[in-house]
């Protein structure tokens, strides 16, 4: 065996991500999907790219600026990576717009959703738009003149702008002496991207920038307009908070937000119709490298179409919804404390509703026996009922501790907002740990009961956000087992700084022991295999990047351990390479819901250990974040997780398998098994379980009792 060992090969992290985004785009290309679903996937692809350029391309550019061009594990230098990203991204942008213009847009037009152009309007509509411009747009537009000798003005990233090329006044010919004048008109974000046009038939909209362009000469009286060009820049946003700097964290966060408005341009999207003069002017002023320029043949920023894709009343253009079902383990009129005290509860979102988790916090806020609530809030929704419950609990003299992670990327502004709100209600708000992002999802409720103190714990793989809980696949595990309770409070004592880390009974936390534990578990499978036992590892994750883990998996594969990885996004591990990873299978599912849970299975010689976790297997998760690894030892819950893992590996409709060359291909349904779409199977199962429970419910007469939840 050892003689045939192959040196490890790895996929590049960022190109692997681009591959993932291509799989999202492929969903949009699927002609069997209704048009608004396809539009949604186009918008997701576009918005994914926005974040990717800001953060990852930004980081690579930064490395290059620092003169650090060393190759990564896959052997690519920073420069190579930037070129490869650019070439793939250009190709994908072309595909994206071809799909939008040639397929989705016509399909929408046939369904009555039309984009109107200003050169093709009835006089009534034209008058209407003129009024809109005069009343709503004109007062808040602020053109900025461009001067050749001054730096490019600070315009916000990711917003639409118009570049206006102006001829010299009084009909003078532009010349060396009196050249064209240029100005930028930023389109304020609060105007929205679409202006709905009141026409009887269908839904008709104009793009805001079109309307501004149409009447733009009113901003430049006396100067004839030569050209208006929509464009958008993406700035380098890799401004990690300088934790060592003075001042308190909140203050520094605000500085980051300010800095984000003025960093380097890593991508320029410019209307493909732009004249050469204007395009060159813009690129030279912005100092954009040629490969960072993206000529756009349709509306810039397709992510704006999210709103359109979600518009009400167009259900015939969408998939039949799969609404979250009530878990049969959570009867409507029973207190969650009662339910959890009888047995551990496992919820599979979004097939099963997130409500019980919200209800638990709400019940806790109103329960006189509850002494304390402690919770980590990483990304939560606006008007979150959980935040409201925490505030209410604090008002009722309960001890409420909220660890609010300000460093949640791009959500900083929102996070600062509710952190303040909670503090005002008397919640002890803690802004994370120095140098570490708090990414674990955990809530513990301390309750005084007849038999003594009892702690109810919720562990999750997703954030406390009831909106994303309808779109992301995640696991909730609720228990009042004392080992978990003791660990949970110890964990909070650790992150609130009341105590140094102590040995946990069941959990492992990053960055302390989580990675070591994973390596131990992988190594233990390898040793068992070598001793002749059955050995198997199954994992569902979003990303696999950490070289230590990948190498451990390679070693385990070389020893003969069967490894099944279901990794939605980045995977730097290369499966199926002879002598290296032929026992590893890598599958990625992209479907209606965003695959998000983290579930791990280690065979352990036939007594499998199953975990859920907040952590992906990336250096940032295992070394720079506070994460949790939670063993699920309750038999019923564990078996359910195993069933979930088995099902996602039987998916033949939305799963793609990574080939030994690193590329992905769709899985072909085998002749022996019927085709399966795992997300649909989970939804159907949740629905049937709910209906069965309802039928059983009706077979029993239950006296009406006042609900505990108000």
């Amino acid at each position: 065996m050892s003689k045939s060992k192959t040196p490890p090969v790895y996929n590049n992290r960022d190109l692997s991500w681009v591959d993932f985004n291509r799989r999202v785009l492929e969903e949009a290309l699927d002609p069997s999907l209704p048009p608004l679903e396809r539009l949604k996937f186009l918008a997701i692809t576009a918005s994914n790219f926005d974040e990717f350029f800001m953060v990852r391309v930004g980081a690579l550019e930064f490395l290059l600026d620092q003169g650090r061009n060393e190759p990564d594990l896959s052997g690519l230098t920073v420069h190579d990576q930037l070129l490869a990203i650019s070439s793939r991204a250009h190709e994908m942008v072309d595909t994206l717009y071809t799909c939008f213009l040639n397929q989705v847009k016509p399909a929408l037009r046939d369904a009555g959703i039309r984009r109107l152009y200003t050169n093709d309007l009835t006089p009534q509509v034209y008058d209407y738009l003129e009024q809109v411009f005069d009343h709503d747009l004109y007062p808040i537009l602020s053109p900025i003149a461009l001067h050749p000798d001054e730096p490019f003005p600070s315009i916000p990233g990711l917003a639409i702008n118009l570049l206006v090329r102006l001829k010299p006044a009084n009909d003078a010919k532009p010349s060396r002496k009196t050249p064209f004048r240029y100005a930028v008109v930023p389109i304020p974000r609060k105007l929205g991207r679409f202006i709905t046009v009141p026409i009887d038939e269908g839904h008709n909209y104009c793009l805001t920038e079109d309307v501004v362009a149409e009447f733009v000469e009113r901003l430049f009286p006396g100067e004839p307009i030569a050209e208006t060009v929509p464009f958008r820049i993406t700035r380098n946003a890799d401004m990690s908070v300088r934790e060592d700097a003075a001042g308190d964290l909140l203050h520094r966060m605000k500085e980051v937000l300010d800095a984000r408005k003025q960093s380097d341009c890593v991508r320029l999207e410019i209307a493909a119709t732009a004249g050469k003069t204007s395009a060159e002017k813009l690129t030279s002023l912005l100092q954009v490298r040629p490969d960072a320029i993206y000529p756009i043949s349709g509306p810039i920023d397709l992510s704006a179409y999210f709103g359109l894709a979600r518009m009400t009343g167009l259900d015939h253009l969408r998939d039949k919804p799969w609404p979250p079902q009530q878990s049969p383990d959570v009867p409507a009129n029973t207190s969650l404390f009662d339910i959890i005290s009888r047995k551990d509860l496992l919820l599979h979102h979004p097939y099963e509703s997130f409500d019980p988790v919200v209800r638990l916090v709400e019940e806790a806020a109103d329960d006189p026996n509850v002494l304390a609530i402690k919770q980590i809030l990483y990304r939560t929704s606006e008007n979150s009922p959980i935040i409201a419950a925490l505030a209410r609990a604090a008002n009722r003299e309960k001890h409420v501790t909220a660890i609010v992670e300000l460093k949640a990327r791009f959500d900083e502004a929102r996070n600062i907002g509710w952190a303040k709100e909670l503090e005002r209600s008397g919640v002890q708000v803690i802004y994370g740990i120095k140098g570490l992002k708090t990414h674990a999802k955990i809530c513990v409720i301390v309750r005084r009961e007849g038999g003594g103190i009892r702690r109810y714990v919720h562990f999750g793989t997703g954030n406390y956000n009831e909106n994303t809980a309808r779109l992301y696949t995640d696991i909730s595990y609720l228990t009042c087992n004392d080992d978990y309770g003791a660990d949970a409070t110890a964990f909070f004592n650790m992150i609130t700084g009341f105590s140094q880390p102590i040995r946990f009974r069941k959990l492992e936390a990053a960055p302390i022991g989580l990675k070591d534990r994973l390596l131990e578990l992988i190594e233990s499978e390898r040793m068992r295999k070598r001793e002749g036992q059955d050995a198997r590892i199954i994992a569902r994750l979003n990303s696999l990047v950490h070289p230590d883990i990948i190498n451990a998996l390679y070693r385990a594969s070389q020893a003969g351990v069967k490894i099944h990885l279901n990794i939605r996004g980045i995977c730097c591990l290369r499966p199926g390479v002879p002598g290296l990873s032929e026992n590893i299978e890598v599958v990625s599912i992209v479907d209606r819901f965003l695959e998000h849970s983290r579930i791990l299975y280690f065979h352990q010689g036939g007594e499998p250990q199953v975990f859920i976790s907040s952590a992906d297997w990336m250096p940032r998760n295992l070394e720079r974040r506070v994460e949790l690894l939670i063993p699920v030892d309750d038999d019923a819950c564990r078996n359910r997780l195993i069933h979930i893992l088995e099902t996602i590996f039987r998916d033949t409709l939305k799963a793609r398998r990574q080939k030994p060359d690193g590329s992905y291909e769709r899985i072909k349904p085998s002749r022996n098994a019927p085709p399966l779409r795992s997300q649909e199977a989970f939804y159907q199962a949740a629905r049937e379980a709910h209906q069965l429970a309802q039928r059983n419910d009706k077979a029993v007469f239950v006296p009406e009792r006042p609900s505990l939840v108000t």
Partner: protein, 536 residues
């Protein structure tokens, strides 16, 4: 709903819900807190465990005092702990017990330290004495000692190598036969021996040489060739146990062969602090004590040719919790341990054991009889019993003024589990078993407050009567009964021919009783006359 199992059978109405307590241990390297529930049956359930590193030991062992910055660190830690206590509604003083050990005890500015903590956090820290520490160590491991058959036979050493001191208990056939505190501390060693430039291996050699000195001293105190088991109590030992035996998390204790323990100590010993912190996820303070502490356990095991080391899960904090759980009273097991220790002391002074035991026994009977008069809490029964047992050990020195010799012999001895203050009371009771009545200018007695003086008077009065009852050292008095009349307390002694000698003795000794209890004590043979009490 049909999917729910029936609710678990509820316990037959718990008498009272468990109470929450917080115990805090201000140690040389860390301030630790445990919040625990104590049920009405005395069962202890730990709810939270917290620890924060501090430099108390470092300051005291090198500078002799606690630095201001360290005091403020402690204030901050304890403020945090206060918050956690508050979450559980643990706010009253009687639900909080905080103790400090050598690193505060030896600090020149200990009083200002205690004041500052009290002002900032309202936490009252008790500095516990060395003997109290051994008692708490015993309480911490009592469960294991009484449950584990291996530990009930032969010679067992219970050792806690702390930051500043080492507590040692020698158990013989289940009883404490010796206990002492040695100035061998893991942190003290590092702070006093460490010097710039010495290699890690040189440090290990220095530690070993230093440990050897104490081990030799212990060998002199505990003259044994071989002991069966070493019970190693401390965070360092627990760390080693968890590293050596991965499955121990689920048990109260783990047994580790000395070989494996020593090998681990040799492996840890030479590692640098940085290596330990990085590879073993320890804090710097934990890493500093680990090496020297494990070496000390290993050396002790070697010196007594011990095969197995038992590491219990419990710590000083469990001792504190047990103490809270049993209230102010002492458990029968603990009383037995103290009694054994007192007997051992008596033998050292070649005392008349049968007389001592007889007087102790009679004293206890009188103590119970007179409960309505003296109104003392139960713990004084043991104090009196021990004073009675040892009242004549001064005879070993000289017959003349032997009561005074008894007093200083007791004062200069350690009895397992008895504080210095307890020992002073015991010594004074023994001193007043004959001759002069307590006087405010008497040595020792002068330092007592009013309540303690009353205790000494009440108990020595009883001791005098009991002693008179065994005047001839023949242990003839077996059965007694009593009657009370206003101003008169009569003891009836059965089964004796005459009480001539005893009456003479009582005449000489009974005055203290008359004064203290306001009743004349007299002796009669036979049984009390019927109908006596109805006359009153």
């Amino acid at each position: 709903m049909s999917t729910l199992p029936p609710p678990p059978p509820s316990d037959p109405a718990p008498v009272e819900p468990p109470r929450l307590y917080a115990v805090l241990d201000i140690g040389a390297t860390a301030v630790r807190m445990e919040i625990a529930e104590i049920g009405s049956d005395g069962a202890i359930r730990t709810v939270e465990t917290l620890r924060q590193s501090v430099h108390l030991g470092k300051d005291t062992f090198t500078l002799g005092r606690i630095q201001q910055s360290t005091i403020e660190d402690c204030v901050n830690i304890l403020r945090g702990y206060r918050r956690v206590m508050k979450e559980y509604g643990v706010e009253e003083d009687r639900h909080i017990r905080a103790v400090a050990t050598s690193s505060v005890r030896e600090a020149a500015n200990r009083d200002s330290f205690l004041d500052r903590i009290y002002i900032a956090t309202k936490i009252n820290i008790d500095i516990i004495e060395e003997t109290e520490e051994t008692r708490l160590t015993y309480l911490a491991v009592q469960d294991i000692l009484t449950r584990e058959p291996l530990l009930q036979k032969g010679d067992v050493l219970v050792v806690e190598v702390g930051g500043g001191d080492t507590e040692l208990l020698h158990m013989h056939d289940g009883f404490v036969s010796f206990s002492n505190t040695y100035r061998l501390g893991a942190l003290r060693m590092r702070e006093t021996l460490e010097s710039r430039g010495s290699s890690n291996q040189q440090m290990v050699d220095l530690f070993l040489r230093h440990i050897k000195l104490t081990v030799d001293q212990i060998k002199r105190n505990v003259p044994l060739q071989k002991a069966s088991t070493l019970v190693a109590v401390s965070g360092d030992a627990r760390f080693a146990a968890a590293e050596i035996s991965s499955t121990w998390d689920h048990h109260n204790m783990v047994r580790i062969p000395t070989k494996a323990f020593a090998a681990f100590a040799r492996q840890i010993g030479p590692l640098s602090i940085d290596d330990l912190v990085r590879d073993h996820h320890l804090s710097y303070q934990e890493a500093e004590t680990l090496g020297p502490s494990l070496l000390a356990y290993a050396e002790l095991a070697k010196a007594f040719r011990i095969q197995n080391i038992i590491v219990p899960k419990s710590s000083l904090r469990q001792g504190l919790l047990r103490e809270v759980a049993i209230g102010n009273a002492w458990t029968p097991e603990f009383t037995e341990q103290v009694w054994h220790s007192a007997l051992a002391l008596g033998h050292k002074y070649a005392f008349d054991e049968r007389h001592g035991t007889q007087v102790a026994d009679l004293s206890v009977r009188l103590y119970h009889e007179l409960q309505p008069e003296h109104l003392l809490p139960p713990r004084y029964e043991l104090i009196l019993r021990i004073a009675a047992l040892l009242h004549e050990i001064g005879l070993f020195i000289n017959n003349r003024s032997h009561h005074k010799h008894s007093m200083y012999a007791i004062l200069n001895s350690d009895l397992f589990g008895m504080s210095r203050h307890d020992m002073l009371i015991i010594a004074l009771i023994a001193r007043y078993h004959r001759r002069a009545m307590p006087q405010p200018y008497h040595e020792g007695y002068a330092t007592l407050d009013r309540d303690d003086r009353m205790v000494v008077a009440k108990l020595s009065a009883i001791l005098r009567v009991a002693d008179a009852l065994d005047r001839n050292h023949m242990q003839q008095v077996r059965e007694i009964s009593y009657t009370r009349r206003p101003g008169q307390f009569t003891i009836y002694v059965h089964d004796v021919e005459d009480l001539f000698l005893e009456r003479v003795a009582l005449k000489e000794k009974g005055r203290l009783f008359d004064d203290v209890y306001g009743m004349r004590v007299s002796l009669e043979t036979g049984t009390p006359t019927e109908g006596w009490l109805s006359d009153v």
